[in-house]
């Protein structure tokens, strides 16, 4: 990827994560460092599988870079019984 400023690489990865049907998640955060060659991913997706796919996609896009997958999976348990009274 040459000496392109990392901000463009980060933006390109972020766009791909949104547009590629494998992930289709908007607003994931991407940080690329050159020395050492690392990509950090964070944000939330609805399933563990989509979290893994996001990292896979980034590994394909960024050969030679270590990918740190800090993406979290959104909670889907029933709420704890609390509710808000707006009456």
């Amino acid at each position: 990827m040459g000496e392109q400023p990392t901000v463009y690489t980060e933006a390109r990865i972020q766009q791909r994560l949104a547009e590629d049907p494998r992930v289709a998640a908007l607003g994931l955060r991407v940080t690329v460092t050159v020395r050492p060659s690392r990509v950090f991913l964070s944000g939330e997706v609805p399933s563990r599988e989509r979290r893994e796919r996001a990292a896979e996609m980034v590994r394909e896009m960024m050969p030679g870079y270590e990918v740190y997958n800090e993406i979290e999976v959104t909670g889907s348990a029933a709420p704890d019984g609390s509710r808000e009274d707006l009456s």
Partner: protein, 247 residues
């Protein structure tokens, strides 16, 4: 007392099969109706729609939804709407679902909505056709919401959108993207009628609670914001001492 369960941005797909089912199994014990604030799928395919249908079938309470931008990605929004209608889910786009709950009439007026921005920082239908189309889409969505709210005389009105009507509930999102997350045209419509609660999704990094300029409570129920399968809001007059337990 009407107990409204709500969630948005569930983004289901084959990889999330059975994801919500355990939490929804006992929904009827906690809520009278389930409202879905759009982005039911990852990118709006039929296959994902089938997962949504399987998750929502027979939840034991009426389900009312709007679609979100993700549900439009494959241009199958009409098909998704029909698939959901087949299992009794009302998908609103400029219309109203009326329900009678505990002797009170609840009207849910729903529309997907769109971006544009917030007062003083909003796009205008000026210049290039693309810009006019963008702002025009947002304006039409708000007009549809107005029409829906005007068409009902129910005791309690709730506005359901995917995009945000106010910036309050976007707090936490980068301010630069606010115009892609919602538009005040929706709040203006909501404030023109007697609305008890406005629910939206779309802003995963936003905050739950906000207010329209007219004083209507706004809640961002995007799943990452509420952090659970749904959250419950109680509206209307408490009827029994037991109901007063709603904190």
């Amino acid at each position: 007392m009407i107990r409204i369960a709500a969630v948005g941005d569930i983004h289901l797909g084959p990889d999330a099969h059975g994801h919500l089912r355990p939490a929804l199994r006992h929904l009827a014990e906690h809520a009278d109706v389930l409202l879905l604030a759009g982005d039911l799928t990852r990118h709006g395919t039929r296959e994902e729609g089938e997962v949504v249908v399987a998750e929502l079938a027979d939840v034991g309470v009426p389900v009312v939804a709007v679609l979100g931008n993700h549900d439009y990605h494959f241009d199958k929004q009409d098909e998704l709407t029909a698939m959901l209608a087949d299992i009794g889910v009302s998908v609103l786009e400029g219309d109203v679902a009326e329900l009678e709950i505990g002797g009170q009439r609840l009207a849910v007026a729903g529309v997907k909505g769109f971006g544009g921005g917030f007062p003083g920082r909003c796009g205008t239908a000026f210049g290039e056709p693309e810009m006019k189309a963008f702002v025009g889409h947002s304006r039409r969505a708000a007009d549809m919401l107005s029409g829906a709210l005007a068409s009902t005389d129910a005791d309690i009105r709730v506005a359901l959108t995917h995009y945000a009507p106010v910036a309050d509930t976007l707090e936490g999102e980068p301010p630069e993207i606010f115009p892609f997350l919602g538009c005040y045209f929706l709040a203006e419509a909501i404030d023109s009628y007697d609305v008890a609660l406005a629910l939206h999704g779309h802003a995963h990094r936003g905050t739950e609670k906000g207010l329209t300029p007219g004083g209507v409570r706004v809640r961002n129920v995007a799943a990452p914001v509420i952090g659970s399968a749904y959250t419950v809001y109680c509206l209307g007059e408490p009827e029994t001492n037991e109901d007063l337990g709603c904190p």
